[in-house]
């Protein structure tokens, strides 16, 4: 087994872990955290795909690598949005 | 020489990975922060050793970013850790 495959399998396991957490955790903040675990798994699967595509003197296929980079930033923005919403909801609590 | 550096990198990583037990078990928040910090330092050392062994100077830059951001995350952890109410200084 190559290390690309190994990390791909790890990504698959992380997808399972993150998805489970997103579905069973009730604390919204922990749900967001699990969304990030899940995202890490997805990116790792993508990373395995990129590594498998090594060639032309590159250690990995640069196209999926660039896509992962973009995806990481988008995932961060999504996390920030979700966190802001959770905090806003918590402060709405007091006023009632 | 690269073999030696790689072996050293593996050992450093193995060592700090064992330290992860403290992040898992605590018991106090201080312990978790320390273990995370150790993981950061060990990760930096690993990156430097691998970067030298495989002639990838860019890994030094990864280590540089890690050093900066690990410092940032560590202080954030240290001041966020749940503690007694007298911990916070009053806002000016």
């Amino acid at each position: 087994m190559t290390s690309a495959t190994l990390f791909g399998l790890a990504g698959a396991a992380l997808v399972g872990i993150g998805l489970f957490g997103m579905l069973v955790r009730t604390d919204p903040l922990l749900r967001i955290l699990c969304f990030n675990l899940l995202g890490g798994g997805v990116f790792l699967v993508f990373g395995a795909v990129a590594r498998r595509g090594a060639g032309a003197g590159f250690g990995g296929d640069p196209v999926p690598q660039a896509i992962i980079l973009t995806g990481l930033v988008v995932a961060f923005a999504a996390t920030a949005l979700a966190v802001a919403l959770v905090l806003r909801l918590a402060s709405a609590e007091d006023k009632r | 020489m690269p073999e030696f550096l790689l072996a050293a990198a593996l050992l450093v990583f193995l060592t700090v990975a064992v330290g992860l037990v403290r992040v898992l078990r605590g018991p106090s928040e201080a312990d978790r922060i320390m273990a995370a910090q150790l993981l950061g330092t060990g990760g930096i050392a690993t990156l430097l050793l691998v970067g030298q062994a495989t002639a990838m100077p860019a890994l030094t830059d990864v280590a540089l970013i890690l050093a900066l951001l690990a410092a940032f995350a560590s202080v954030a952890m240290a001041r966020t850790a749940p503690s007694r109410e007298d911990e916070q200084e009053p806002p000016a």
């Binding site: 290390s3 495959t5 190994l6 990390f7 790890a10 396991a13 997808v15 872990i17 993150g18 489970f20 957490g21 069973v24 955790r25 009730t26 604390d27 675990l37 890490g40 699967v45 990373g47 395995a48 590594r51 090594a54 032309a56 590159f58 990995g60 296929d61 690598q65 660039a66 992962i68 980079l69 930033v73 961060f76 923005a77 920030a80 802001a84 959770v86 905090l87 806003r88 918590a90 402060s91 007091d94 | 990583f13 990975a17 992040v23 928040e29 978790r32 995370a36 690993t46 990838m56 830059d61 970013i65 890690l66 900066l68 951001l69 690990a70 940032f72 202080v75 954030a76 952890m77 966020t80």
Partner: protein
């Protein structure tokens, strides 16, 4: 291979523990460790650009963002917990997730060999961009549209976070008030680190054209260097009504689109660069985009304006 196995095992254990953690703080501490381990995994996958981004955004900014939320939620009455799924349902979900993970693992093993790849076309066309870093080539030329749209997404996210401002807080200072610490360890770090960090960010941005690095990594570092003195209470973010602040986060995408449209007029295709001009134009875009994204990322961490804090 042993190293990889070790790394994977550590990653899975940390992720599992983070997902199961009882306390939010523990979960986030483990999540930061997860980000550190992922950084090493990206190095092992020969994706150094991604490793840098993961270190800066995955472990750094995301961790600090979540920690900030833990901190703010600790001072508030915890919301009534939603009903967790019952044991039978939990088991069912666990089986479903395990099945998905297993299917995904099997599929990873079944991916075609040799793997299809665009490495060769990237290598063949990279000289046309005058860049040395293939990932930057993809991000700024071959798939520049994605990068452009992503910068718009980041800007939009700031709008969304601001849109959550409670009544009476509009136009005010974003984020919760931070306890002021004029001296002490945090203040020391908040004063000593930023100058060094800015130099490092500029270095990462500059080498990004030809070696791993680039605007996102640099922007994340710069954001962290602004957030540090903010956390120490040494600087106050500008109010969100400030026109210059809004221009700062918008100027990057605006310039990117303008250069793209200029390409459409001059070269006949949106985001096409005239021959010989690719590298300077890309550097201009990256430089301005770094400033915009850095401020936007920091604002995303700082969060929504508070009613309590109109200055």
């Amino acid at each position: 291979m042993i190293a990889d196995l070790l790394l994977v095992a550590a990653m899975l254990i940390v992720a599992l523990a983070s997902m199961l953690a009882r306390q939010a703080f523990t979960a986030v501490a483990l999540f930061i460790a997860y980000g550190l381990l992922l950084t090493l995994a990206w190095v092992r996958l020969a994706a150094v650009d991604v490793a840098m981004t993961e270190a800066a955004i995955g472990a750094g900014l995301s961790g600090v963002l979540l920690l900030g939320a833990v901190r703010r939620l600790a001072t508030q009455a915890s919301p009534p917990p939603e009903q967790p799924p019952g044991p039978a349902m939990t088991l069912l979900i666990a089986l479903g997730c395990a099945a998905l993970a297993a299917a995904l693992g099997a599929v990873v093993l079944l991916l075609p060999n040799p793997a299809p790849s665009l490495a060769a076309p990237v290598a063949a066309n990279l000289p046309a961009t005058d860049l040395g870093n293939p990932v930057t080539g993809v991000l700024m030329s071959f798939r520049a549209l994605d990068t452009l749209l992503e910068s718009a997404v980041v800007l939009l996210a700031v709008v969304c976070v601001w849109a959550l401002t409670p009544e009476g807080g509009w136009g005010g200072v974003p984020g919760a008030a931070q306890p002021v610490q004029r001296d002490g360890p945090l203040a020391l770090l908040a004063r000593a680190l930023p100058p060094l960090g800015i130099v490092i960010a500029m270095h990462i941005l500059w080498v990004g054209a030809d070696a791993p690095g680039g605007k996102f990594q640099a922007a994340a570092i710069l954001a962290a260097m602004w957030l540090l003195p903010w956390m120490a209470g040494l600087v106050t973010p500008p109010p969100i009504a400030a026109r210059w602040l809004r221009w700062t986060i918008a100027i990057g995408p605006v310039v990117f689109i303008a250069i793209g449209l200029a390409g459409a007029v001059i070269e006949g295709a949106f985001l096409a660069y005239p021959p010989g001009w690719a590298k300077p134009l890309i550097l201009i875009i990256e430089f301005i985009l770094t400033a915009s994204i850095a401020v936007a990322l920091a604002l995303l961490v700082i969060g929504t304006p508070d009613t309590a804090q109109r200055r």
